[in-house]
């Protein structure tokens, strides 16, 4: 098979102009990608490659070449659809949004607390998914927070991250023991900061909007205290900790302090927590009902600052499909969650990179290299990790996000009705 070429694209991790040689088995290794390699493509500084005159070569002036994104927090299960269709649709949605792989949270239909579910999930992914899907094992059986899941069994099936998904274990003794046990298996605990007693029966951030709507608010201190508890438990147990979907400025501060003290902790923020505030709930718009809730602009700013200085390692989708029927219910009854995979890279570009809030290099770090490193912690450099596919991103085309343009099969994407910039070609 002959190779194809792309000329004069911008290599997102460095901003330099590059030429790309595309073909099976090709790869380049980049320190700027944390030592990760590209898959089926070589990236060279512009002008270095000798491009055969007969080769198919595309001029990509003004376009971006970058490693495809990896999402560290997605739910695959689409309520009301079969598991196989859920896998298929979510994979398509991911590819549409520039995402080639994701860490899949346990949900009711994909309860990764046993090898049989993991095996059948791996089979479904192999047969149906256009994107890589790595399951996160559960911390507790059924994510119910009582009995630890069989970590050895899960680790033997390739699990490297444990999480109870939307549930936060409130039995700290169980969690402490789980951390001590699993630390020896080189597993990472991915948990959201929360004190369930403080956040029970609450529906949004407490503020002017919640008061006007008569909805009980989730105090920010529930997350802040929760993060402190997790940090101290993990430090005591010697466990590696990943804090999920940070939403508060003080939460960022706690993580910053823990990192400065040398603790083995990473953290993520969901894209919606960077883009929206509690005021977006408006008149009970259930699309903006998420957990943790959307907070103040000052929190959005602190989260973005956390991304830029590396306190927050990753931006994730927290992709949570909900049926249109469920989201049409009243705000209290409607399930939490928003989808984001379909529009991930265009939304990141339109809202963060284009206005100058985030550089391409920061985006690559937060949405590709950091999440990959967290999902695949490698103990030795010789480990042959699979390469990252590259994508081509044309920032020029604008498109209106409509229900029809989404493939994930649900309509709870806050971008619906907005205009985004950028066209993703994945894989190259």
């Amino acid at each position: 098979m002959t190779n194809t070429y792309i000329r004069n694209a911008i290599w997102a991790p460095t901003g330099e102009t590059c030429d790309v040689k595309i073909g099976p088995g090709l790869s380049s290794r980049f320190d700027s990608l944390g030592g990760l390699t590209t898959c089926d493509a070589e990236v060279h500084p512009a002008g270095v490659l000798t491009i055969p005159s007969e080769a198919h070569c595309t001029d990509a002036t003004g376009k971006i070449v970058m490693p495809a994104l990896f999402d560290l927090h997605a739910k695959v299960e689409v309520p009301g659809r079969s598991k196989r269709e859920s896998v298929s649709r979510t994979g398509q949605a991911a590819v549409q949004g520039g995402v080639w792989g994701m860490l899949v949270m346990p949900t009711r239909g994909f309860m990764f607390d046993n090898y049989a579910t993991l095996d059948s999930f791996h089979d479904a992914v192999a047969q149906r998914s256009a994107a890589e899907m790595i399951p996160a094992g559960t911390i507790s059986m059924g994510t119910e927070g009582r009995q630890q899941a069989p970590y050895n069994t899960l680790a033997a099936r390739g699990v490297s991250i444990l999480t109870d998904g939307d549930n936060v274990p409130d039995n700290l003794l169980m969690l402490h023991r789980a951390m001590k046990y699993a630390a020896e298996l080189n597993l990472t605990f991915a948990i959201r900061g929360d004190v369930p007693m403080l956040s029970a029966n609450t529906y949004m951030h407490p503020g002017t909007t919640s008061y006007a709507l008569g909805l009980h608010g989730t105090p920010a201190c529930a997350e802040e205290i929760g993060i402190e508890i997790l940090l101290r438990l993990a430090r005591d147990a010697g466990a590696r900790l990943h804090i999920q979907t940070v939403s508060t400025a003080r939460g960022v501060e706690s993580i910053r302090r823990a990192k400065a003290e040398g603790q083995s902790v990473t953290a993520e923020v969901a894209l919606h927590h960077l883009l929206y505030t509690h005021e977006n709930v408006g008149d009970y718009d259930t699309t903006f009902k998420v957990v943790p809730p959307l907070r103040e602009q000052s929190d959005c700013d602190a989260l973005l600052a956390g991304i830029k200085d590396g306190t927050i390692d990753c931006i994730v989708t927290d992709h949570t499909p909900c049926t249109p029927f469920d989201k049409k219910q009243d705000f209290v009854s409607a399930p939490q969650g928003a989808t984001a995979l379909d529009t991930f890279l265009p939304a990141l570009y339109t809202h963060l990179v284009k206005p100058g809030k985030l550089s391409w290099a920061e985006l690559v770090r937060a949405c590709c290299t950091a999440p990959l490193t967290i999902a695949n912690p490698r103990d030795d450099e010789s480990d042959e990790a699979a390469g990252i596919p590259l994508l081509l991103f044309d920032p020029e085309p604008e498109f209106e996000v409509t229900a029809d343009s989404l493939v994930c099969g649900t309509l709870n994407n806050p971008q619906i009705g907005t205009t985004l910039c950028g066209q993703v070609s994945l894989p190259l």
Binding site: Y211, G217, Q329, V332
Partner: protein
């Protein structure tokens, strides 16, 4: 007043709309003195009361109001168990639409439910209380009662005392009174008076501050224990700290202040027995005016079901 289909919040109305409804309520109340307390304004129209929460006053008040306008009233009994079992409000809406109701009066413990029903239904929807969100008909009867007592709402000072956090009455009544030019203040136990309240509403912490403020109306709220899964304040403190005690009643009497309460009243908690019989206690006026206000609200709404007449 422009034709409008629903009444969900006070905030959705213009001041002109509010005054129109209050003016009509005065005319409606005149009917009560006639030997035949009925007018044919809604003859042939069907009114449904759909209460997902227990209610005595509001429901019967709406039913009497609808009867006095000659409407046909149906009571839809929603068993709380079916809600617990996950019954969707959308399924109920489908049922109601099949019944071709013209007016639906709805109460629900979840904020925002009447708006969901109104969006998907041609009937005129009246919010009879949704969670801690809004209770616009209560706001109208409160404003009407104050206007009737003092001749105007503008310039009056009303202090609302009690469980502000859970109170849809506090939200809607403070909204209508401020729109009509009154000043409103809040007092209650700290955890029950959220800091995120609407700006411009002073918050007092004791009765001395209230008396110093020189209010015209003391508006008491019920402590809604049914909405408190975990206690918000020491159970034994409320009456002494925030209630109208006999000593405070004497001061209220000296100052010739009025007392209002949306009911039902917890005697010995927010109000002492003697205050119920106090000459300026307007609680029974509120009940009577509630019928007039609700007649006026029904009269001024235009269901989409009528557009094809």
């Amino acid at each position: 007043m422009k034709p409008r289909k629903d009444l969900l919040t006070i905030g959705s109305l213009s001041t002109e709309d509010i005054n129109t409804i209050l003016d009509s309520a005065t005319a409606m109340k005149d009917i009560f003195t006639k030997s035949v307390k009925k007018v044919p304004a809604l003859k042939g129209k069907s009114v449904l009361t759909l209460f997902y929460e227990p209610s005595t006053r509001t429901r019967s008040s709406f039913e009497v109001a609808a009867h006095r306008l000659s409407a046909d009233v149906t009571t839809f009994t929603v068993s709380t168990s079916s809600v617990v079992k996950g019954e969707s409000v959308h399924d109920t809406i489908d049922t109601l639409m099949s019944m071709k109701m013209d007016y639906i009066i709805v109460r629900h413990k979840h904020s925002g439910i009447p708006a969901v029903i109104a969006r998907h239904c041609k009937a005129a929807v009246i919010n009879a209380g949704d969670g801690a969100h809004a209770h616009p008909s209560q706001a109208f009867l409160d404003a009407f009662t104050i206007r009737e007592k003092y001749g105007t709402v503008a310039g009056k000072r009303v202090v609302i005392i009690g469980d502000i956090l859970h109170s849809r009455v506090a939200r809607s009544t403070s909204c209508i009174l401020r729109r009509l030019g009154a000043e409103v203040a809040y007092m209650g136990p700290g955890p029950l008076v959220p800091l995120q309240q609407h700006s411009g509403i002073p918050r007092f912490t004791n009765w001395d501050q209230i008396f110093d403020w020189k209010p015209d109306v003391i508006y008491l709220l019920r402590v809604q224990n049914e909405r408190m899964d975990t206690p918000f304040f020491p159970a034994g403190d409320y009456h002494q700290a925030f209630g109208v005690t006999e000593e405070r009643l004497a001061r209220i009497d000296d100052l010739n202040l009025s007392i209002m309460h949306p009911g039902p009243v917890n005697r010995g908690v927010e109000i002492c027995d003697a205050a119920m019989d106090y000459r300026n206690t307007l609680i029974n006026d509120q009940v009577e005016n509630g019928i007039a206000a609700r007649m006026s609200i029904l009269y001024h709404l235009t269901p989409q079901t009528q557009q094809h007449d």
